[in-house]
Symmetry: C2
Subunit: 301 residues, 2 copies
């Protein structure tokens, strides 16, 4: 089955202690769609300006991503994020954000996209997430990713969104903030109370945590000796997760979600091994399976 | 088989944002020995002053811990640590340390302890760890726990010790410091290079990591909704690990180490649920098995 991904399609300028990389292909939808496309047909809904390089479009097409839902605004400026990482690669700060064409974007879904069964509302404003959700016809499984920014400036919209989705994905700091609870495990029931049946907490190098009707699942991260650029790792995680779920012909979502998280974790590990999408877009499917098998061995006792 | 534990036997005064608890039974050897004694006969080597309450001695005896190796210095003052935790329970600061009788302690092992096969050099100065090791006759498996303090003030002794032990246990920050390497996964081969065949990195609520001849093992922490006091959790982890290893009649140490870490993690989880040893000393063996089974389910995919 297919996956629809809505989110940002951006140009990212990323500084680390070791190098500078201007105007890379980035954004939550780009990372998530490439990750999803390893497993299932994937449709991207987003917006770019006239400055968006055609090589980026070609790269997405090469990954068989359906770009029918990607709006191009001639003369407009593509969303541009510029940020800097500290030595330990965990702390980052935003240097500049230019919203460009994303600021007044009102997504309109082409008719053939309205019936996509698996829907990933990747990180973007809750208003846009709502608007896409409004146009969908009976989606089978809706996952929303979010970030602290929306908790700070669009909390009401976000809370309304949580009543409309099956699964919420966020990082541990955001889980604490949204639940107003210092202990992540104690935050989970409070997050369920806001609406979603499934809650997934991303903990970076420490893996992730799923809370659902069958209790908790603790998923490892793939242990990396070297992290080049973690930008987009969370988007790759949730994109890979959705693609894997959509690709499964057997079993319920509940039954497949644990393995889906493992596949997401593996795509995220590749994402961290290069700037932007440079490593992810060179991964071959058997490399993913090999790391999944490694993770199986890593946690067995 | 038996476990010998050497380390501090202390009085701990612990402040958290919620309460103050003066002069609790604490110290690395107390926590580790109680944890080990759930699984195997355990012998404690330590020193206390005349001020050490007899109720603490009785509690250790009640847990069937052999105190032949516990020296009592009449008129001396027991090692006293006083510290304070922040709201998130991860950051702590030491308010005061009184070394007391531990400062000039030269442990002498009673003859019957010299042949103990499983030896835990719990956190204490590397000089004392060496001195105990010098008196042991062909131990089967030696584990050393340590902390940043010894890296700062006794690095040469610590480095010499690492050539004499089978397994090093330390937390993630300490692993980075000792290996001079920011990435924990990349730090592991550097730590092996210092001597130990096995390296275990404790990551608190994020679980632990084993590196050994068969590669990596990622062990989960038991997810706790409420942490009352994490003091001694690391000591409980390694104590439980050693007790479990010593209790196994089948399999090699290499084969049993993963399950040993899981048992250690479970004892550590109980430790966090009360001040000092108050919760750990009330745990019944079946409660440990129940949490081990929960952890098995938590990581299965």
């Amino acid at each position: 089955m297919s996956v629809l991904v809505v989110g940002t399609t951006a140009l990212d300028s990323i500084k680390t202690p070791y190098s500078e990389n201007p105007r890379l292909l980035g954004g939550s939808a780009s990372h998530a769609a490439v990750a999803s496309a390893f497993f299932a047909p994937t449709r991207l809904v987003g917006v770019v300006g006239g400055d968006f390089p055609s090589k980026h479009l070609n790269l997405l097409r090469k990954h068989r991503i359906d770009l029918t839902g990607l709006e191009r605004v001639k003369g407009g400026q593509t969303f541009h994020w510029s940020g800097e990482y500290e030595v330990n690669m965990n702390n980052r700060r935003t240097l500049e954000t230019v919203l460009g064409v994303i600021e007044h974007w009102q997504p309109v879904l082409p008719g053939e996209l309205e019936t996509t069964p698996f829907v990933l509302l990747a990180n973007i404003s809750p208003q846009i997430q709502h608007r896409v959700l409004d146009q969908l016809k009976k989606p089978r499984f809706v996952v929303a990713d979010t970030m602290d920014l929306w908790m700070n400036i669009a909390l009401d919209d976000l809370l309304r969104l949580l009543k409309r989705v099956d699964c919420l994905v966020l990082n541990d700091g955001e889980a604490r903030q949204l639940a107003k609870e210092d202990n992540v495990v104690a935050a989970l029931p409070k997050l369920h109370h806001l609406g979603p049946r499934y809650v997934i907490v991303k903990k970076g190098e420490h893996g992730s945590l799923l809370s659902g009707p069958e209790g908790l699942f603790v998923a490892p991260a793939y242990p990396l000796k070297k992290v080049i650029d973690p930008t987009g790792a969370g988007d790759s995680f949730v994109g890979g997760l959705m693609g894997y779920l959509a690709s499964q012909k057997k079993g319920t979502i509940n039954q497949n979600l644990r393995r889906a998280m493992i596949h997401g974790a593996v795509v995220a590990s590749f994402c961290c091994e290069g700037f932007g999408l440079s490593r992810t877009t060179k991964v071959a499917r058997p490399e993913i399976s090999a790391r999944v098998r490694e993770l199986e061995k890593l946690v067995r006792f």
